[in-house]
């Protein structure tokens, strides 16, 4: 028995949705416990006085990366069956900028705004309304931006494929970047703490 369980037919659509909800609740719980339901803390990332987002995201990345690598290596998971979102480099860069501007203005991203709402923060409620409005505008305007949306396609671009390096080497490089990053951001935090 190996994952992905849904693709291998171990459970159907209904159960998969239920599992998604349970995973979502845990995801939200850990975001909130990590302090990421607080806009002030999140914005601290952009002013360098609180690097919790960096630390939490990189911890999640290396935990998931090492987990997926070794689960796949020992046959518990078929990584080739894990869906990768195709890369359209230019529209995704533009999307990233829009996302970043919204993030620094509102202080929350889509996930953390939902988390913040559970603790009764009004700013997150306004942000979620804005997010739904944005989704609506995007949907309605899609025919106009369709060509741009599908421009500069790169297929399932992954670093091992682009850099022609082994997965193992990249795992090592990312872990080293994360650890050097953790040490570095602690120093940056201290430097910007009282500014």
């Amino acid at each position: 028995m190996s994952a992905p369980f849904f693709i291998h037919g171990f459970f159907g659509d209904g159960t998969s949705l239920l599992i998604a909800v349970i995973i979502g609740i845990f995801f939200g719980f850990f975001l909130e416990r990590g302090g990421l339901g607080n806009a002030t803390k999140l914005v601290g990332q952009f002013y360098f006085y609180d690097m919790t987002v960096f630390k939490m995201m990189f911890t999640a990345i290396i935990t998931a990366m090492l987990g997926l690598f070794w689960l796949s290596y020992f046959g518990f998971l078929d990584l080739s069956l894990v869906y990768l979102i195709p890369t359209y480099i230019l529209p995704q860069i533009v999307g990233g900028f829009i996302f970043g501007i919204g993030f620094v203005m509102g202080g929350l991203c889509p996930g953390t705004s939902c988390v913040a709402l559970t603790t009764g923060r009004i700013d997150s409620f306004i942000l979620i309304l804005g997010m739904i409005f944005g989704v609506f505008v995007f949907g309605e305007a899609f025919p106009l931006i369709r060509n741009f949306y599908y421009s500069t396609p790169m297929g399932n671009a992954t670093f091992p494929r682009l850099l022609n390096a082994s997965y193992g080497t990249l795992v090592f490089v990312v872990v080293i970047i994360a650890i050097v990053g953790f040490v570095g951001v602690e120093k940056i935090e201290k430097k910007f703490a009282n500014k």
């Binding site: 090492l66 997926l68 080739s80 369709r146 193992g168 795992v171």
Partner: protein, 175 residues
């Protein structure tokens, strides 16, 4: 030096990543996929008894399909109607359908069932419309002659990128 929890976690991550370098690839040695180049060469050589299955819609199949492919609806496919002795290559669009169906065949005991890695998109980009980029190395230029020959066999249009040419990339709109 005092061992804090953070240091232990960082150390564990480094140890696991060093072993990852040694392991190299997280994929199991038994390949469930075939790359477009290898698949094209298999088709050209005609050495194998090969069944090629297009799992896309009838309309997409009629627009274009890989030579010798048969069109079978993914929801109705029954591995028992295929010959286990044949090599079976399944392909679809930009999705996981061919991978899921390949697993179905594998579970039924098919030893030579593969899905086409990258689906029809990679087939079009790498076999039908291959492009030799500007500033390619001499080795790449030499290798491109083989790629061109292979592409021509399937009625493709290989292209050598220069000042006046525009890179062609096959794109299927929508998901």
């Amino acid at each position: 030096m005092k061992l804090t929890q953070n240091k232990i976690l960082a150390g564990s991550a480094i140890i696991l990543s060093v072993f990852a370098v040694i392991a190299g690839s997280p994929f199991s040695s038994k390949k469930s996929y075939i790359n477009p180049e290898q698949f094209a060469d298999t088709l050209i050589s005609k050495k194998q008894n090969l069944t090629v299955v297009d799992l896309r819609d009838k309309k997409d199949y009629n627009d274009y399909h890989i030579p010798s492919a048969i069109n079978v609806n993914a929801t109705r496919i029954d591995p028992s109607t295929f010959d286990q002795k044949n090599m079976i290559v399944l392909y679809s669009g930009r999705d996981n359908i061919s991978k899921t169906i390949q697993y179905k065949f594998e579970k039924e005991g098919f030893k030579k069932a593969y899905f086409l890695n990258g689906g029809i998109d990679d087939w079009m980009n790498k076999i039908i419309f291959p492009v030799l980029l500007k500033n390619s190395s001499e080795a790449e230029k030499k290798n491109f002659e083989n790629i061109e020959r292979r592409s021509m066999y399937f009625g493709g249009q290989p292209e050598r990128e220069d000042e006046n040419s525009v890179k062609k990339i096959y794109r299927r709109e929508g998901c």
